[in-house]
Symmetry: C2
Subunit: 356 residues, 2 copies
């Protein structure tokens, strides 16, 4: 490592993204992308003329996009901030609302990037264990004095909390900020967005990477009180004022306005998830109850590592975490198209036959 590395940078805990292999064509069910292209309206929005306008900076206020998002959720544009993926938005939130004397708490099993970002800002992170059945007990957070981050539905489990549970946490600590990461909420979870007008200690973070089929456009956003959004903008304008590029601004607004396409994609994912869950259970898997566009499952007969490696050799990528304790025998499988899922279950069937 460089001899110029600052002590702060030496203490970082960089995130490891899911594999994006280029050695062959895989059935890619490892990073929770959508199997569907973005809305046709997205493709129409990016015209030749717009490509030529790349010579000009993007709107630093993300005005058109924020208006489209606000309209979708019945909020004002002042309740919205957009970012270069929800990872950027989360980083802004960790800087804006945590620091010396304000630690952060999240589940021991959740989106592992929270740990990276806590390390980035030198925050004290408190990991609160999920229960044995991987459910999250809101009461475990009631006494925590700092900022709470809850992924709902959670990743990689896919399990969701009802809105009333999060409301209970918001009510119990009006001086404690709760960040609800709703990256996967559109596939069956209960969103906390309807609570925003009522609770100024609630920040909801969402992404267009999953339900809007725009993972490659890098678009995320947060919704909250005007004061919370102003605080996030303070960080944004200290870090990267023009944080969303012109084409993603256009793509995001078009995707947000095409409600029918969005609904249809989400419905298909839910149907495919039900089919996949049933198939896996027939194959002897334990499948956690998922409200997300993935399932978290373990075979009774193959270890998580054997399943991951066996599927990869057969051209199917799923996500597996080595040395991960009580989730080591699980794999996370993205709910793809029926064609992808039929291929997956066929390869699992063969793997199990070889095993026996």
């Amino acid at each position: 490592m460089s001899r110029f590395l600052s002590p702060e940078a030496a203490r970082l805990a960089p995130y490891t993204p899911g594999e994006q292999p280029v050695d062959m064509e895989y059935v890619k069910l490892n990073t929770n992308e959508s199997p569907f292209p973005p809305s046709p309206k997205v493709v129409e929005a990016i015209t030749r003329g717009e490509l030529e306008q790349l010579k000009l900076y993007s709107d630093p206020t993300c005005g058109q996009l924020n208006r489209a998002i606000a309209a979708r959720y019945g909020l004002k544009p002042e309740n919205v901030i957009s970012g270069n993926g929800s990872d950027e938005i989360l980083a802004f939130a960790f800087r804006a609302f945590c620091g010396a004397g304000i630690g952060v708490a999240f589940a021991d099993i959740t989106y592992s990037f929270y740990r990276s970002q806590a390390a980035l800002f030198g925050l004290e992170a408190t990991l609160i264990p999920l229960r044995e059945d991987f459910s999250l007990r809101v009461d475990d957070y009631m006494d925590f004095p700092g900022t709470v981050v809850i992924a709902n539905p959670n990743a990689p489990t896919g399990m969701a909390l009802p809105r009333t549970e999060i409301q209970r946490l918001l009510e119990a600590g009006p001086d404690r900020l709760v960040i609800v990461d709703e990256a996967y909420v559109d596939f069956g979870g209960e969103s906390c967005v309807p609570l925003i007008g009522q609770f100024d200690n609630l920040l909801v973070v969402q992404t267009m990477s999953k339900s809007r089929s725009l993972a490659g456009g890098r678009l995320g956003f947060a919704l909250g009180s005007e004061a919370l959004i102003a605080a996030l903008n303070r960080v944004k304008y200290s870090f990267n004022p023009y944080n969303v590029n012109r084409l993603s601004l256009l793509a995001g607004a078009a995707a947000m306005e095409d409600g029918d396409y969005f609904q249809s994609c989400c419905r298909t994912i839910r149907d495919n998830r039900a089919w996949l869950t049933e198939q896996l259970e027939e194959l002897g898997f334990t499948v956690l109850p998922s409200q997300a566009n993935f399932v978290f499952a373990k075979s009774g007969r193959l270890s998580g590592g054997a399943l991951y490696r066996g599927l990869k050799e057969r051209g199917v990528l799923v996500r597996w975490w080595a040395d991960s304790g009580r989730i080591e025998d699980y794999v996370r499988i993205t709910v793809g198209s029926m064609e992808q899922l039929e291929r997956l279950t066929a390869e699992i069937t063969k793997l199990l036959e070889e095993e026996s």
Copy 2:
């Protein structure tokens, strides 16, 4: 401001971007954008098929783009990191190479965003005054023990240092990192990229916003030793692993490969700059010697504020900094197309006539 704001976020010094007005069509010479569209190869690269692939994440390693940049500069991909604009790259560098005990020094008159980023990371920033004639004296930095940032050419002056001067600084302090921000180098400055193999204490930051006509694509990059780039990646993977979107990756690689178009654009800007400088001098302006795609100039008869406001009323935007001490009578004018510049000088002529 939000009652949830952390003490660290309360101390921030957010940057104010140049105006991006939407109230009318301006001749926009205020944010140093290119008057030319990006290379036709950029437009060709973003096909309908690629738009549909937005459903998939971008390559977090920015492999194709980094290879194109490396090839252009005769370096290895391991010497390159790409980012969501050079602002993001600068933020990574401030975090990677500055911190407790490692302060940062830069000129009192330079890209004002350095101050915002120093505040973001709670760094001790040392401002070193430019000389009376706005030139930068490298000897003033020789005794500084922390990280040095030099914009070369400098903004908003446009004045450039010869490479030999920066080399002198690199040689004098092999244990001190020097970050050279070459956002404007392609319009006549001497790049320090040829020194990278020789000095492991040199990091060069560039952008595609100006000479590559991709301000709206948000693309910047840094070049340096493998160890420096690895340190920057440590920060990137703690902040936002998928930091460049798919379309900008394609656009950047295509722009980097079209050397002829790039050369032709830069040549035109240099010609237009010479013309503009001559015209302004004939109109009684003092024009600093610029190697950038803008000029920094003051009228002998109109204050900076009067010039800025008068031109804005006439539909021409230039950049002016109120309450800026010794640069308050200057305006920064982007070198646009001949059509834009003729309009500008015509409006200035009218303003001066009204004045007399």
